[in-house]
Symmetry: C2
């Protein structure tokens, strides 16, 4: 079980965007904003390119994951009242979801969370990145941020 | 000179938060939300811990930068109309700003951008991360994201 309070779980469920960092085998980091869904155990992020297109394999995050499965995902809230800043920082392992049944389940979760995916052509054929959390740090607003 | 349109420069100037990824020497990525300022050439992000405190040296991003200067910084805008999604993705080198005169200049820029820093105790003593861009990718809303 993940060490997450009900509030942090709710925060992960409602967040619309996260930031996913991967790194190449030689340690060059790469971060992109991602849509994601949290099923209570893992986080999943679709890659908006078809698996059969060569392009998908060329995506930096896909290349990185194949070389180096370690990922960092942060989900945060910004506002000008810094006492209300907040984040959930997840360190874990990432992989590309291969099994069809599992992919269908996650695509359904994503369509539920993001109406935009319901009408996106070819959405169900997309790659998915699965993030298996290993360590979670949660933080809420104060003037000095821990890391 | 950076390959940035006036619109992308304006976007970087007005953005309140970015996401900075670093990686350890062994290639473990780490991403955190950061406040930053762009002076037209480099980006600077304060670290909210005093340099004399041991804690600052223990911060993951500081440890990572000392082991591995490569960084990735993304500044993005999310909204539910995905045609309006946007990001500026910067790959470059990061270091800790040491020279006092330079630090004072950047602290002044940060205070100008973020009123919150004007009253933050000890703010001028903080570490700063300098990000020297080497490669910039800009992207605006479409259904398939490049990487």
């Amino acid at each position: 079980m993940l060490n997450l309070s009900p509030e942090d779980r709710a925060f992960l469920h409602q967040a619309r965007v996260g930031h996913l960092a991967t790194a190449s085998a030689d340690g060059t980091p790469h971060v992109v904003p991602v849509c994601f869904v949290f099923d209570g155990a893992c986080l999943y992020s679709p890659i908006d390119a078809k698996p059969k297109r060569v392009a998908a394999f060329k995506l930096r995050r896909v290349r990185n994951l194949r070389e180096n499965p370690r990922v960092s995902l942060v989900v945060d809230h910004y506002e000008e009242e810094w006492e209300r800043l907040r984040y959930v920082l997840i360190a874990g392992q990432g992989d590309l979801l291969e099994a069809d049944a599992e992919r269908e389940r996650v695509h359904a979760l994503l369509r539920e969370k993001y109406p935009q995916y319901r009408t996106m052509r070819g959405f169900g054929e997309n790659f998915l990145v699965r993030i298996v959390p290993e360590r979670i740090v949660t933080w809420q607003g104060a003037r000095v941020r821990p890391d």
